[in-house]
């Protein structure tokens, strides 16, 4: 009898992200928590490969990742949409003029069924900010896109000395059944 797909050993999005970060030697993780990111954060904390810090603000996370890059260590900042909305100043004054490949993984809240108006309104600032700053960004919607998008965005960020925002869409992180 063939088992249903769900029962087989299928990699989850967070496990794929961890694998891709490792393959690109991204070792430093600075995060401000988010519920969607929780399983990823757990994996990163449990894995000795990563140095994980938990700053009080997302701006700090960008500063820490910037400093580590200057000193030769690759890093990524994890946050939710509201955290990203606190970042235009640090991106425009630090990441862009100093040409720093700051990797950001943003859990997209406030869309596709969110119950909080505040989250929804903050969400509407995400893409306009990225577009105004001309920062490369892409929303990952399907499990079969995770490896390629994360890997290629990391590659491009370091090759072009530019920050990059990988957006985790609820289509990837919240859709139940079907392709998780």
């Amino acid at each position: 009898m063939v088992e249903p797909t769900a029962a087989r050993d299928v990699e989850t999005w967070d496990a794929t992200v961890v694998r891709v970060l490792k393959s690109h030697d991204v070792r430093l993780v600075a995060h401000v928590p988010d519920k969607v990111l929780a399983p990823l954060i757990r994996r990163l904390v449990d894995d000795d490969f990563f140095t994980v810090v938990s700053p009080a603000r997302e701006e700090e996370a960008v500063g820490i990742v910037a400093g580590a890059y200057l000193a030769g260590m690759r890093g990524i900042a994890l946050m939710q949409t509201s955290g990203f909305a606190t970042l235009p100043n640090v991106l425009a004054s630090l990441a862009l003029p100093f040409q720093l490949p700051i990797l950001m993984l943003v859990s997209e809240r406030g869309t596709l069924g969110d119950f909080q108006l505040a989250q929804a309104m903050v969400c509407s600032t995400l893409r306009p900010i990225l577009q105004a700053l001309k920062i490369e960004h892409f929303a990952i919607q399907r499990m079969d896109e995770v490896e390629f998008v994360v890997g290629q965005m990391i590659r491009q960020a370091y090759a072009t000395q530019a920050p990059a925002a990988m957006i985790l869409s609820p289509l990837l992180t919240a859709r139940r059944g079907g392709i998780q």
Binding site: V53, E59, A61, G63, A71, M73
Partner: protein, 201 residues
């Protein structure tokens, strides 16, 4: 740890930022990395002699400490110093808790407390109304936190920053004399010089 003294802000002599920055830089071995914050902090760092391992943080108020923490985590064997102004630190006080939790043995934070946002017109900061940044650092769990009582004590604290276990937090009260120079603000050059130097010893 005798250089760590239990002083309050009122006990600390008011000194001159340019002179203190020169004293600091004069004692630094070449391999020490310094991240200078916004305001007149990086101006005086620049004016004290442009070391290859200086990073001049131009626009991101409050982020000298997080950037220095990132450098310290990436290169745990290199001594790293964050230089920050009181107004800037007040904007990012949470960073002190982050530093404490990360426990970088190689990081020292030096703060110039002139009680003002000097560069924007010397408007008073909250320290001039009584906020004690050393007490805040201690409250954040950085046990090695102290005011520099005077120039001799400051020099002893620089020695501690170079030899002791961090994180260390030092605040010095400073006057409102203008800085000794103006930083050359070519961001790409600053980055490349700093990165190249940090690849070496």
């Amino acid at each position: 740890m005798t250089a760590i003294r239990h002083l309050s802000r009122a006990d600390a002599h008011v000194m001159n930022r340019s002179a203190l920055t020169r004293r600091l830089v004069a004692r630094l071995p070449d391999d020490v990395a310094v991240v200078g914050g916004i305001g007149h902090t990086h101006f005086d760092l620049w004016a004290a002699g442009q070391r290859a391992r200086n990073f001049y943080m131009l626009g991101s108020m409050g982020l000298a400490v997080p950037i220095a923490l990132g450098v310290a985590l990436a290169q745990p064997r290199r001594r790293v110093i964050a230089l920050e102004g009181d107004g800037s630190l007040l904007m990012q006080l949470g960073a002190l808790g982050t530093v404490m939790a990360a426990r970088p043995k190689n990081l020292a934070i030096f703060v110039w407390d002139n009680g003002a946002y000097q560069i924007t017109g010397a408007q008073p900061t909250a320290t001039s109304a009584g906020v004690d940044l050393v007490a805040i650092a201690r409250g954040a769990g950085i046990a090695a936190a102290t005011w520099a009582a005077d120039e001799a004590h400051f020099e002893a604290l620089v020695e501690l920053a170079l030899s002791g276990d961090g994180p260390l937090f030092v605040a010095a009260r400073t006057d409102n004399q203008p800085p000794a120079g103006t930083t050359d603000r070519d961001a790409a050059r600053i980055r490349m010089r700093f990165m190249d130097a940090l690849k070496q010893g």
